[in-house]
Symmetry: C7
Subunit: 71 residues, 7 copies
């Protein structure tokens, strides 16, 4: 059995896909997270909100809105 937070920790420094509510998706390198909120820090980020694409050097993503994280 692999606990969700253990897999999240093992994903540090790797590129992950994060899907949020409302059609928002990030792809970036997982640079940090906190417990128990599962807020994330991503770097080198490609953001897609519906059709609109943006790049960010870093983002802090609030855990509340996360649907899934794909390592």
């Amino acid at each position: 059995m692999e606990k969700p937070l253990k897999l999240l920790h093992a994903s540090l420094n790797n590129r992950v896909i994060v899907e949020l509510r409302g059609g928002v998706q990030y792809q970036g390198v997982l640079d940090g997270y906190d417990v128990p909120h599962m807020n994330l820090v991503l770097k080198n980020v490609d953001e897609q909100i519906k059709e609109k694409k943006t790049k960010h050097e870093k983002v802090i993503v609030r855990g509340d809105n996360i649907i899934y994280i794909s390592p």
Copy 2:
């Protein structure tokens, strides 16, 4: 009587269907979960968001958005 978490535990290593809010569905092997949030780890995942199908090796699914889990 079968408690929800006992059934979830018994579903480890089996393929499950997970329905989330917003028309998102996953089918994958249940690899882990945590308590009390019911966050899940799925592997070999078929994702369907409305009409769009995607495959993921692994996903961490936040428990908040889960409507049901079908073992």
Copy 3:
């Protein structure tokens, strides 16, 4: 006076209707529940999401999304 959880307990092994947010309805035999979340285990389940009907052997339904349970 009949407490909600006492009625839920009395409904074990009986067929119940469960209405969730978003136009999702289950009919199935109540096989278990937990407290205080009111997550449910249903078996021999008829699911109806708007017009689409599906059968499941078992489902774990998260209590958060439940509108009502009709024993």
Copy 4:
């Protein structure tokens, strides 16, 4: 001053109207409730979801979705 829970208690065995989010309304005899969730047990229930009317012998209504209770 009349506290909400005192009025709820005084409404036991009387017919009440319960309005939920999403255009769902129940009319039935208040058979029980719990604290602090304000989950309700109603009996001899007339349900109206938008235009659709249904009768239930009993329902457990989750307090989360209640907008108002009219004794």
Copy 5:
């Protein structure tokens, strides 16, 4: 400085307007409330849900859905 709960208390036995999410409005005499949920008891109530107007002798309004109370 006037604390919200102090103003609510001072409004007992006066007619107040209560605006809820989803276009629901009540006008009625504030008969009680509880802390910290801010559930209310109103009497001699005029309810307006979008265009539909209804009268209630008393209602218990759940605090969760309240946007504002105007004494």
Copy 6:
């Protein structure tokens, strides 16, 4: 560094703009607040709900629905 609650406190007796979910906006003098809910008391209030404008002598605004407060 200026803490949010310190700025809120410093805004007492000044006119503020409060934006709520659902296209509701208030402009009024901040007369009070509570912690940690950030419920507000406003006086001499101009309310705008989409196109509809109303005046209130006082309102209690629940903190839950607040998006931002602009002193």
Copy 7:
């Protein structure tokens, strides 16, 4: 590993982009925040709500509605 709150703290006095639910975006200098709510104080703020642009000297943004903060 960089914790979300550490990155937030390091962003004090820098211009950040804050995206909220409902198509609301702020760009402003981060002047303060609190823990654990992640309420923010921004100054010299450019607000964009869908197509409508407004300037504010200062705003208090509730953490609940934040999707991401981009330093």
